[in-house]
């Protein structure tokens, strides 16, 4: 097996991994039930998928003799800008009050937020009265 065959196989596997990551991100975007949960899926997994596709493109250009690493520029740009746009989208969700209520927890656990619970207020009243 020559080097170019190994490179072609590696590029094909990179492409398949990238496509799998992209579709996992899209499934998460479609399936999850809360705006903040939906934010997680495409902003991280989708970026990884596109990074893998671009890596496959770099490898195939080396195999074909072009040896261009320009695609790494797109990869760096996407990796820098994806968290910023995710931060902006989460600001939009907070601004539109899409996450005012904490999600439900099982086993009678509670979230450690600053939201006052009713039973806490009742207990506070009791201690103040006594």
């Amino acid at each position: 097996m020559t080097m170019s065959e190994v490179g072609t196989y590696a590029a094909a596997i990179f492409l398949l991994i990238g496509a799998a990551f992209a579709v996992v991100g899209a499934i998460g975007l479609l399936k999850l039930n809360d705006p903040m949960k939906r934010l997680h899926a495409p902003t991280k997994v989708g970026t990884m998928g596109i990074g893998s596709l671009l890596l496959g493109s770099v490898v195939i250009s080396f195999v074909r003799g072009g040896s261009s690493i320009h695609e790494l520029l797109i990869m760096a740009f996407l990796f820098v800008t994806a968290p910023i746009s995710a931060n902006f989208i989460s600001k939009v969700i907070i601004h539109l009050r899409g996450c005012d209520e904490t999600p439900e927890l099982d086993n009678e656990q509670t979230w450690s937020t600053l939201v006052q619970r009713e039973e806490d207020l009742v207990a506070q009243d009791k201690t103040q009265q006594s």
């Binding site: 496509a19 596109i50 740009f77 989460s90 939009v92």
Partner: protein
């Protein structure tokens, strides 16, 4: 084990189909998305998947012409996402 070029062709075809399906899923979320944040997120995902489709097209045709295209789409996608978000947050893009 199949020859390397056939395997690459098959992988590119499968990747086209899978990334296209994920593009359609993001489109569905864009249509049904209950809040504005979901729609902005779906548009951002569609831009990122479009970059992936263009890269796959470049591999398929064996050309490097599409590099600039995908770079410019990446930049415009980021700027448009920030512009949408700022429009929702401030009611104005350039103050």
């Amino acid at each position: 084990m199949m020859p390397a070029d056939d395997f690459l062709t098959l992988a590119v075809m499968i990747s086209f189909a899978v990334v296209g399906v994920s593009q359609i899923m993001a489109m569905i979320r864009l249509v049904i998305g209950p809040s504005t944040g979901d729609r902005i997120l779906a548009l951002d995902t569609m831009v990122v998947n479009a970059i992936g489709l263009i890269v796959l097209l470049g591999i398929w045709q064996g050309t490097r012409l599409y590099f600039e295209v995908s770079l410019i789409i990446a930049m415009l996608g980021f700027v448009s996402t920030v512009a949408y978000a700022r429009f929702v947050l401030r009611g104005d893009i350039i103050e």
